[in-house]
């Protein structure tokens, strides 16, 4: 087997996970909301994009695969963003644990609705999604990943980003600074949902077959894990976390003795990270950097 046949899909998956982690990081890391229903937005993006390419524009997709791919992932992202708005407006009145529970509930509702919707294949799944753009697909994934990261990076350095950060830092202080807390919370939530949907759109085309079980609660947990390992509230951390959580189980696959217990080792590493470095890898990096600075002073 050509090793590229293994490596390229793996790297595509990595890119999608990077977008997922970066998008959850906007909600959990930057805005300080505790959301663990990200698989729901991922699912909406995937199903909306799949429906777009298979049901809405099959002829267009055959004629103009690149444009159709862009249109489909944008449909997925927009659908997820809209879902973020619909879920966010009532749920963001909640804080902390309560918000977490509500978002878990939302994620499960999405999965169960998909599981029972005949139009998208219900429990049989959604087959026959064409891999638009064929061999160019990985490049499109990469392009959109870099684009998403750049967009979020710029957003967080704008005054909107500053408002979002201030809510995480201290909500009451943010309100007394004249920041419309409810608006910016919803905004951050929609941005996070939008990019999760974008990632879902690529996932649908990457897998060519999607099933509600691809979007179960463990996916939400895995994305949360990425940003915890990488360090909440750091874009670099989200990227690093996605890389580790995606590639580590794969790397362990190659060792004959370790491959059978690789998920065990993986779980152990996660526990150790949280025990010793709860600020994540970027927290560790910052600490190193800070001590060096102190030495210089």
């Amino acid at each position: 087997m050509n090793y590229l046949d293994y490596l390229i899909p793996l790297l595509q998956l990595l890119c999608m996970n990077v977008i997922l982690a970066a998008s959850l990081n906007v909600i959990n890391g930057y805005c300080g909301l505790f959301s663990i229903g990200h698989a729901g937005f991922f699912a909406i993006g995937a199903y909306a994009a799949a429906a777009g390419s298979k049901l809405l524009m099959p002829e267009f997709a055959a004629a103009q695969p690149a444009l159709a791919l862009i249109a489909c992932v944008m449909i997925g992202a927009a659908a997820a963003g809209l879902a973020g708005l619909v879920v966010g407006i009532p749920c963001l009145r909640l804080t902390g644990d309560y918000l977490a529970i509500a978002t878990v509930g939302f994620g499960e509702i999405i999965r169960i609705v998909l599981l029972n919707t005949e139009a998208v294949g219900a429990s049989r799944g959604f087959p026959g999604i064409v891999l638009l753009t064929g061999k160019w697909f990985p490049l499109w994934v990469l392009l959109f990943t870099v684009g998403s990261l750049y967009f979020i990076h710029r957003l967080m350095r704008s005054s909107t980003g500053r408002a979002i950060l201030s809510i995480r830092e201290d909500e009451i202080a943010a309100r007394s600074m004249g920041i419309n807390v409810r608006f910016y919370k919803t905004f951050a939530f929609v941005v996070g949902a939008f990019f999760a949907g974008l990632s879902g759109g690529f996932f649908a085309h990457h897998s060519q077959f999607i099933h509600p079980s691809n979007f179960n609660f463990m996916i939400s947990v895995m994305v949360l894990l990425m940003i915890v390992v990488g360090g909440m509230g750091s874009q670099m951390g989200a990227v690093l976390g996605a890389i580790i959580v995606t590639l580590l189980p794969e790397a362990l696959r190659f060792s004959e003795t370790l491959s059978s217990i690789r998920m065990l080792i993986f779980g152990l590493i996660m526990i150790l990270v949280v025990l010793w470095q709860p600020q994540g890898l970027m927290g560790f990096y910052r600490k190193l950097f800070a001590t060096r600075k102190a030495e210089h002073a």
Binding site: S159, I172, S176, M177, G178, V181
Partner: protein
């Protein structure tokens, strides 16, 4: 300028304010005295829309604050700043960024707007030179007194007409308390009206024009600062003499 007319506030089943009335006129320093749990902080929160009232009215510059429907950010934009209890600076942001957050609501459309903001930076640095030395430092690494200075400076960056301060002397070294109260007098001279909530009654009465006394959610006493400072009851209850 600000007229609070017999407001009440409840936290769930617990009533915090029963009947609080007070008035602040343009250019004044008014202080609100009272023991723990009297409702001083709640009064400020009710004015700035952080907690809803269940009776009475608040008039601000001839309009009923009810039109803002408890949206705190719109009340701030109307020129009423609240520096909340416990400083609440953004500890993960630098001193400079904290001040920028203060200026968040300001318009930056014209060069004049931008100049006005620059001017206000200079003004707060003249008031609190320490902040200028610490601009790149994270807010959380400042001392308590410096954090309080930052909280006041941040509120001033909103260019408020009325500045409400909640316990600026709380947990701060006496020397810094003196510096902060001096700064408050200076701020008032520059045309900012101040409503000050303070446990340190002696210090508050020394700079205030008028004062109100709050007891278990009722305003019970009012008068000029000098009158209250000489009132035997007040001297016994709050001034420890």
């Amino acid at each position: 300028m600000l007229k609070v007319n017999s407001i009440g506030v409840s936290y769930g089943a617990v009533r915090a304010l029963f009947d609080v009335s007070l008035e602040v006129k343009r250019g004044e320093i008014v202080t609100l005295l009272g023991s723990n749990g009297a409702g001083k902080t709640t009064t400020l929160r009710a004015i700035s829309g952080l907690v809803p009232t269940n009776k009475g009215q608040i008039h601000w510059k001839d309009q009923d604050l009810a039109i803002f429907n408890g949206q705190a950010h719109r009340i701030v934009q109307s020129g009423l700043s609240h520096s909340p209890e416990g400083r609440r600076i953004f500890s993960g942001l630098s001193v400079k960024e904290n001040l920028e957050m203060g200026a968040y609501i300001r318009s930056r459309k014209t060069t004049q707007d931008k100049l006005a903001i620059e001017e206000d930076y200079e003004k707060v640095f003249t008031l609190f030179p320490r902040l200028k030395e610490r601009l790149p430092q994270l807010g959380g690494t400042l001392s308590g007194g410096e954090q309080q200075m930052l909280a006041i400076a941040r509120a001033l960056m909103q260019r408020p007409e009325l500045l409400m301060l909640d316990e600026p002397s709380l947990g701060i070294a006496p020397l810094l308390v003196e510096a902060i109260f001096k700064a408050l007098v200076e701020i008032n001279k520059q045309g900012v009206t101040i409503l000050l909530v303070e446990q340190n009654a002696a210090a508050a009465l020394s700079i205030a024009h008028r004062a109100y006394v709050l007891e278990t959610g009722h305003t019970t006493l009012t008068g000029s600062a000098a009158e209250l400072a000489n009132n035997p009851k007040i001297r016994e209850a709050y001034l420890g003499a």
